[in-house]
Amino acid sequence: MARSMWYNKKMDYFMKPMLLVVFLILHPFVIRAESVDEVIRKVVENLNGNTAVMDIRMVVKTSRAERRMEMKSYSIGNEKSFIKITYPKKDKGITFLKVNKGMWQYVPRIEKIIKIPASMMLQSWMGSDFSNDDLVKESSLYDDYEHKMIQETDELYQVELLPKEDSAVVWGKIVMLVSKKYLLPTMVSYFDEASVLVRQLSYGNVRSFSGKNYPSLWIMKPTTSDKKGHETRITVLDAVFDGRISDEYFTKRALKRFSR
């Protein structure tokens, strides 16, 4: 013990100037290597919050028509969320529950709770350009990918996310632009395995909701030819972060109970 302390001290004495030099040389890289994970962690944290209650408007645009929906969403981190459709009238009261990896839906018109089967996870959520799977798995940007800083400007980080070998994500690569000011994403591009762009999600209009900066406009645009002209716009109308949300929202009973 004593011996090692002495050794350390001696090391300090001799090595400090030396280390400083090395440190100065390596500085930018070291900072990046450490912080790129940190950047993504913060981005994910900032996007989800501990808890969030949001009023959302979703506009789904196709080559033919435009459709507006409104909903209220309750979430804890990215593990649990409860969504209730409030507009249009026809769909009012449809509720969704996502707990861990399961997803359920309640439709008042047919008075039924339906578990979304595996075969439908990849299908569109409420006709939008998000899939059911996006809602369930949005979490994994931090855990499922290796992060690499590609470029850094005064305002932006450009981060490349490559899926870890074992992670079950369909993308070949994700490139994310992160605003340095807010540590929030501005643009996320999804590529397939052949590095062909499949869709782009852009975030904008950062607003302060009860003191927390949050992008209030999300635009998802598929770039494949069969989805030409499609676009989904999400506008956050109001949001409360880090408040208390009753656990009752995240049970199957809630689907029916909070439907009204």
Binding site: P117, A118, S119, M121, D166, S167, A168, V169, W171
Partner: protein, 411 residues
């Protein structure tokens, strides 16, 4: 005496060489084409059956009772029955069983960034499948293996086409596991299979059995045990025996799992018999005609022979030998031709790829490898020789009515 008859027969055949040759030619050509037809058609049917047996059903397959109606992860064959017996042990001790493999399967979805499809996910043990149904022979591209980390997958070629993937591509598999959660894993395509068993080529992903157990959350039991028998054992007996020892399981023969294939075989056999019958019948008519004429032509000679004291039985033998020589030569030539052609088509196959698409529509291989069965030659031999024997009956009846004196005086 027999030698004499033989000599006479030869002599009369040689005298009408064109005619005799034509009969021999007729028999050999018809036999040749008949053999070809049988070998190729049988090859085709058996190939279809073989594909289904090797890739899926085995000779018999075991399922938990009720699995076929509700193929869920709850309905698995337990590793050990409540009474302590294990299916594996029972199968391993049965002398009729050549090999068996265990498979765990579940409906799921396979996805890439652009495409997704509903499929069946099979957990299999590749080494055992190799011994069992020689699954590796169906490999179109890639490797027959799941890689060092056992995270590879082998997929059907039609599925690969639809998903636009090749060897090395990443696939995401999702399914509902035993506790009803939707779970996903990523695998890489290691190999692409073409079994021509349509349900496999179009909608199957094979992964390692251990990986499947983890993925599905199934810690004991399998969905299906496919059993291959040793050569020459009775399938019905084995089925009965297994059914009796495992009342909680369904023991199904391949033809119960693929009834259409069995029907194809039955229909094909019936069809072949009808065609053979027609062909042998017509050839028989050919021999009959020639024998008839050749005997009528020789009425005078025969009359003289009878007058000189030759026994009628000798005449009969002579005529019979004549007909048999023709039949036999035709048989030998035709069999030889047929055998050689079949041998060729057995090793090189008959490429019918110009109809390939249609073939696959029916779950057939584009290249058909002919089958050669001793039965073909045996039945042809019997048929031709009986035709030869029967065809001398009428001519001989005419001759037997011959009164020597009148015949000699006739001309």
């Amino acid at each position: 005496m027999f030698r004499f008859a033989m000599k006479m027969a030869w002599a009369s055949l040689a005298r009408r060489a064109t005619r005799s040759l034509m009969v021999v030619l007729m028999i050999s050509v018809s036999l040749w084409s008949l053999l070809l037809m049988q070998g190729v058609y049988d090859g085709m049917t058996e190939q279809m059956i073989n594909n289904a047996i090797r890739s899926d059903s085995g000779d018999v397959s075991l399922f938990r009772r009720g699995y076929r109606l509700d193929p869920s992860l709850e309905n698995v064959i337990p590793d050990t029955f409540p009474d302590g017996r294990k299916v594996e042990d029972v199968l391993g001790m049965d002398g009729r069983v050549g090999s068996f493999v265990k498979r765990l399967q579940q409906n799921g979805v396979v996805a890439t960034a652009r495409y997704s499809r509903n499929i069946m996910i099979y957990g299999v043990a590749l080494a055992a499948e190799k011994k069992h149904g020689q699954l590796q022979r169906y490999l179109l591209t890639g490797h027959y293996g799941f890689g060092a980390k056992r995270k590879g997958a082998i997929v059907g070629y039609r599925l690969a086409e639809r998903l636009h993937v090749t060897v090395g591509s990443k696939l995401i598999l999702s399914c509902q596991n035993s506790s009803s959660d939707v779970v996903s894993i990523s695998v890489r395509v290691n190999g692409i299979l073409k079994t021509n068993n349509m349900s496999f080529d179009e909608g199957s992903v094979f992964i390692d059995l251990d990986l499947a157990e983890d993925f599905f959350g199934v810690h004991q039991g399998v969905s299906q045990i496919s059993v291959m028998m040793n050569e020459g054992k009775d399938i019905g007996e084995l089925q009965l025996a297994l059914q009796q020892s495992f009342p909680g399981l369904d023991v199904m023969r391949w033809d119960e799992m693929y009834p259409a294939l069995m029907q194809s075989r039955v229909i094909m056999n019936g069809f072949k018999s009808v065609v053979s019958l027609i062909i042998f019948g017509v050839s028989g008519l050919g021999i009959l005609g020639v024998m008839m004429v050749s005997i009528i032509e020789r009425r005078r000679e025969i009359g003289i022979m009878l007058a000189l004291g030759t026994e009628f039985s000798q005449i009969r033998i002579m005529v019979l030998i004549e007909s048999l020589i023709m039949g036999f030569s035709g048989f030998v030539a035709g069999s030889l031709l047929g055998w050689v052609s079949l041998l060729y088509f057995r090793s090189y196959g008959l490429d019918l790829s110009m109809f390939s698409e249609a073939f696959e529509e029916f779950g057939m291989d584009a290249v058909t490898y002919a089958l050669i069965q001793p039965g073909y030659f045996l039945s042809a031999f019997t048929a031709i020789l009986s035709a030869a024997v029967i065809s001398v009956y009428f001519p001989l009846r005419i001759v037997s009515k011959v009164i020597p004196a009148r015949i000699i005086n006739e001309i």
